[in-house]
């Protein structure tokens, strides 16, 4: 298991940079979309809603890859891939945390009563990066 360095983890966790996440469709083709992203020890996380394509694809094949690029410097990026684990536990708290990180709001403003949030945790099995001098 690879580990994120402190600088890589901070780059993802402490900046409002969106991530490109790629999951695999049932036919094996790649599906990419943009997500709010966070990182903790060896795990990159994002939040989605139950029933969306990403969630369905990950239940079918848990392999995920995520890329976070500095918006002003495309030569500074971190890419993580590994198996994803899905959990609804703490997912509401997490979307509020992400709303704070990305919007500066204490609460996620687009909450819907019909929508159940879910946290996706990608284990950093493989980590690549550019622009980190360590």
């Amino acid at each position: 298991m690879a580990q994120l360095t402190d600088k890589q983890r901070e780059f993802i966790a402490e900046n409002p940079y969106v991530g490109t996440v790629t999951t695999l469709r049932p036919d094996g083709s790649p599906h990419s979309t943009i997500v709010w992203v966070d990182a903790e020890d060896g795990v990159v996380t994002f939040n989605t809603a139950v029933g969306r394509a990403k969630e369905r694809y990950l239940r079918n094949d848990p392999r995920a890859a995520i890329m976070v690029v500095h918006p002003d410097n495309a030569y500074r990026w971190v890419s993580v891939s590994g198996p994803a684990e899905l959990t609804t536990e703490g997912a509401d708290r997490q979307i509020d945390h992400l709303a704070k990180k990305y919007l500066g709001k204490d609460e996620y403003p687009w909450r819907s009563p019909t929508e159940e949030r879910i946290t996706v945790k990608i284990a950093a099995e493989k980590v690549d990066s550019a622009g980190f001098d360590e």
Partner: protein, 129 residues
């Protein structure tokens, strides 16, 4: 075939970067950042022979290309399709891209064989566009 709207095409023609997803031999996704172009029919990027991307695409040409507005992460377009690789015009094209992104011509590297990758959009999803 799903063509891009003018606004989506502009995103590719401006100095924005793209994340390309190709498939490794075990079927997992490999991501990389590329310079990007649009010729009115195809999403185009450039790579070099021997790299992971072209090796992956030769084995399985299915690809996803996501272009994000560098000034606004909530404007993006994702294109899915099948990649075609060619050497024809690849050197001229990397020079065009270098001028677009750096303002200067491409400095060829000895022994490097450039490849042009064309993707005709089969499916397009976009946000904020």
């Amino acid at each position: 075939m799903a063509p891009l709207t003018d606004e989506q095409a502009r995103l590719l023609q401006e100095q924005n970067f793209a994340t390309v997803a190709t498939l490794n031999s075990d079927g997992s996704a490999q991501l990389s950042i590329v310079w990007i172009d649009w010729d009115g029919e195809h999403v185009i990027f450039n790579t070099a022979a021997g790299r992971v991307k072209p090796r992956n695409l030769e084995r399985d040409p299915r690809v996803s290309v996501l272009v994000i507005d560098r000034g606004d992460g909530y404007r993006w377009v994702a294109v899915r399709g099948v990649a075609e690789l060619t050497s024809d015009g690849a050197d001229e094209h990397i020079d065009k891209l270098a001028r677009k992104y750096t303002g200067e011509g491409w400095q060829p590297k000895p022994g490097e064989h450039r490849l042009l990758v064309r993707v005709r959009p089969e499916h397009v999803s976009a946000y904020g566009l």
